[in-house]
Subunit: 203 residues, 4 copies
């Protein structure tokens, strides 16, 4: 009785809200009429949160894209699949919290560990969604070619792998660690099969 | 003139926003560059609100699912049905407030009473929606089997019953009381009839 | 080239967000582990904002319903109609601000005047939308009966009239003034023609 | 495999949330029971943020309209187009931040420069979306007339041009600079071809 389109529409709504709420993490001083000097120092302090905002925005956007690609192949939905999607939404809508943490505790490795763990959880729940749906062609059509199944699994697996590497790199440089997360969207977008000329069945 | 799909889409939107707004209840200190020690003590303090966030997220997600199941059987909509849905939305979008209360007043029974009352109101309004629609087959098709009608009523009734039990258990242990709310999603998901192989008409 | 369904979907989204954001106006003290006494006094202080929250929620819900009814009859859309809808959305998504004002400045007539003016603006923009669409059957079908046109205009006119009365009553009692706004949803729901048995064309 | 409708629905969701979140930038003092005098001075202070709220609301609404018009002509979607839309959404959902900045730092040119740069980025990303889609009829139908292609490009180009002029005017008057942004919606709505009688293919 569950329809994939309805579930996807609800998930799209939650992701759209989560990605837009990120901007609320960028605080604006409510004191009016500050001096130029104060604005400059405020902006200098804001550069780091801004960068965190942009990275989280791109990551959540990439998860939306991967979620979208997964639902392209889903034929039917069962309650375990609904629950796995709920887990994914819990992870994605939680992203503003660790994003805020690593902004406020800039020089703290622990904040970045929590950030990386959240991103890993987003990726792992996406992997779980696809693995559950594709295993034995449980919820996808028999016509979906095996390479497509493997390709999606590989791309969702990029997120936990990158998160792990970002964690490993933390003692060396927190900034490098942050930068590494951009490998997730790059990996998603560099798949040759996504090109328009590659036919409907391609990923 | 009311179309069930349009009403459902609006309700889905409100529920999606309410569930995503919950994360705003998790405050991040805006003081920059705190020490490791301060982050640790902040995180220790955050464990309780985090747990409350997760429970409320799961509960609202379960209400969405029950609301979704109800609309699967709705054929037509009248204004009383619209008003009952409005009442349900009022309850659901209010959830962030008692969630925040029981986070801030951790050792206070009153905060948990308000939390339980809000959850009970969500469940009761869902019960009211289904009862109104199903009574005398007012808004559902004549072909919907009686066991389905009873099963949905039973499952929406779980929420007020669990809320009442959680309230009764409060003097013993507030933490046990909080834990008990997880019986609501468990009851929803443990219905055998939800399995994919059980046919379109099953609940 | 504008499609009514697309415009309605966007409006529905904005209204759904505005109605759900209202709860953010209910502040929860972030100080942890307050005493029972403090919670009680906080709740006593919260009763007034809570009441304001409920009233604004019901009002925005009623505007959604009226907007929904209007779009039921819209056949085509032009840019003036799009602009009028934009004006309506501006009014509706502004509601959280005067709601907060009349909560914080409880004993201040000016706050209630701003509240009443905002509600009047919501109603007037809805009136404007319908008047523009229905005048000379500009954007609605020729088959829509004249009584339907008049009935919708009358019901959207209730909002500015009630707002004006609420303003007039202010010197007598601010609480009565607040209560009067409930006449708007009551007027909307007490229309006999909305009954399910009254046919597709009824309002 | 990307469907224009799905991408448009997600974009619509993000824009609807961004436009509604703007109201959260209007702070309401949480101190209860202030005096009339205090409310008056608060309102006087709020006039400037209110004006900024209205302008940003109108601008984001105009971007939605331009985005809507673009998608009217889109036949197919590729990943570069998805990425360009992501860039546009990043710009639009960022708008609340510079809106808050120019409210808090009223007399500071730098805040207005950041505001103008954000609006320019919104316009440029919309231009990029259309240029990518229309160039060589990459993602639009061959039947879309050349004047339509040029007209949309011209109208999205209005935003960066106006932003540049607003920046140039800043040393003369910040208020004039703010006012100039209203040229963007005016330019969008003054296109004769948008009239209902002008046929499906018109812009």
């Amino acid at each position: 009785m569950y329809k994939p389109e309805r579930l996807m529409a609800f998930c799209d709504g939650v992701i759209a809200i989560a990605i837009t709420l990120l901007v609320l993490g960028l605080e604006v001083p409510s004191v009016h009429d500050m001096t130029d000097q104060q604005l400059l120092s405020f902006l200098r302090e804001s550069l780091h949160p801004l960068w965190g905002y942009v990275v989280s925005f791109i990551l959540v956007g990439t998860y939306w894209l991967q979620h979208y690609v997964i639902f392209h192949y889903i034929d039917r939905v069962d309650r375990t699949f609904v629950a796995l999607n709920g887990l994914f939404l819990l992870c994605v809508s939680f992203v503003p919290f660790p994003t805020g943490l690593q902004s406020s505790f800039r020089h703290d490795e622990l904040a970045m560990v929590i950030y990386a763990a959240t991103q890993a959880a987003c990726g792992l729940s996406l992997m779980g969604i696809w693995w559950y749906a594709a295993h034995g062609r449980r919820l996808i059509g028999a016509e979906v070619p095996e390479p497509v199944v493997k390709s999606i699994l590989r791309r969702t697996a990029v997120t936990p792998v990158v998160s792990l590497l970002a964690w490993a790199v933390l003692p060396v440089s927190a900034d490098l660690s942050r930068l590494m997360f951009l490998a997730i969207p790059i990996a998603q977008f560099s798949h040759r099969e996504l090109e328009p000329g590659s036919g409907e069945e391609s990923v």
